[in-house]
Symmetry: C2
Subunit: 135 residues, 2 copies
DNA sequence: ATCCCTGCAAAGCCTTTGCATGCGC
DNA sequence: GCGCATGCAAAGGCTTTGCAGGGAT
């Protein structure tokens, strides 16, 4: 329930909808539509727009991280664990977490530890280029 | 012009539009709309749908790679170089290439070599999970 | 009571699809 | 001439935005 403090401290309100979103994210990285369906099944009245707006707020506060897995939409997950990456099965779409470690050796270790056979990977660095640091 | 052979060998045709797409991609990773604008300026008559269809074909043939840089759209680049990754400046949006190497040491080397200050990175592995390999 | 948050509706992008015409082979 | 590729138009999926009412503080 630490997220309650983070929200309040920054002047945001705790609502039924926001609590349910964070609850639903507790187990697995979800897309917006998956979140929507889960909340509907729990009879939580919510709109897609509210989910988008809440997730944007959560991400800005560092409560949630979004990742783009090339599905044409983002997935969101709770940031309760340390920085890590994902193994996405191209057959079943399942997602597993892995630690952030060396790449080349990582791929070998991944297979050894999880039997997940890596076929391709993407790695993107975001930051400030040399010129932009001087502005 | 090796792409001509690849296309022909697989039963695809060389058209003005396809040549121009591949030409335009030669220098920099482009989004579909950037491609569209460039071709329009060169007075090449082409439709967005044709660009999407061509890029899908090129990607399937391994001529082109797409990457999702969290912009809500894909970028496409020519696969004439070896496997590499990107440095995306969060200020100017500029994209630089880097070799595929260790991550932790990579970030230090990146700064040393390019003065690019990495703030965050995403790493995604795609492949077959243990269960799906047995189907 | 204030002001944020929500639902509803509409619209904005990016992308895909159907269909008839056109062009490479 | 055959059949893929194209342009045009329409539609689909994901996401954003405007606005008035409702709820958290």
């Amino acid at each position: 329930m630490e997220y309650v403090e983070t929200l309040k401290k920054n002047g945001y309100r705790i609502t039924k909808q926001r609590s349910e979103i964070l609850n639903a994210l507790a187990t697995y990285p979800l897309s917006v539509h998956e979140l929507f369906k889960i909340l509907q099944q729990k009879s939580v009245k919510i709109d897609l727009a509210s989910i988008y707006r809440s997730l944007e707020t959560f991400e800005r506060l560092g409560l949630v991280a979004s990742s783009d897995l090339g599905e044409g939409k983002k997935r969101y997950e709770l940031l309760h664990t340390k920085h890590h990456h994902h193994l996405i099965c191209t057959s079943c779409g399942g997602i597993e977490d892995i630690d952030c470690a060396d790449i080349e050796t990582a791929i070998q270790k991944i297979y050894k530890n999880t039997q997940f056979k890596v076929e391709r990977h993407t790695l993107e660095f975001f930051g400030q280029c040399h010129l932009c640091q001087q502005l």
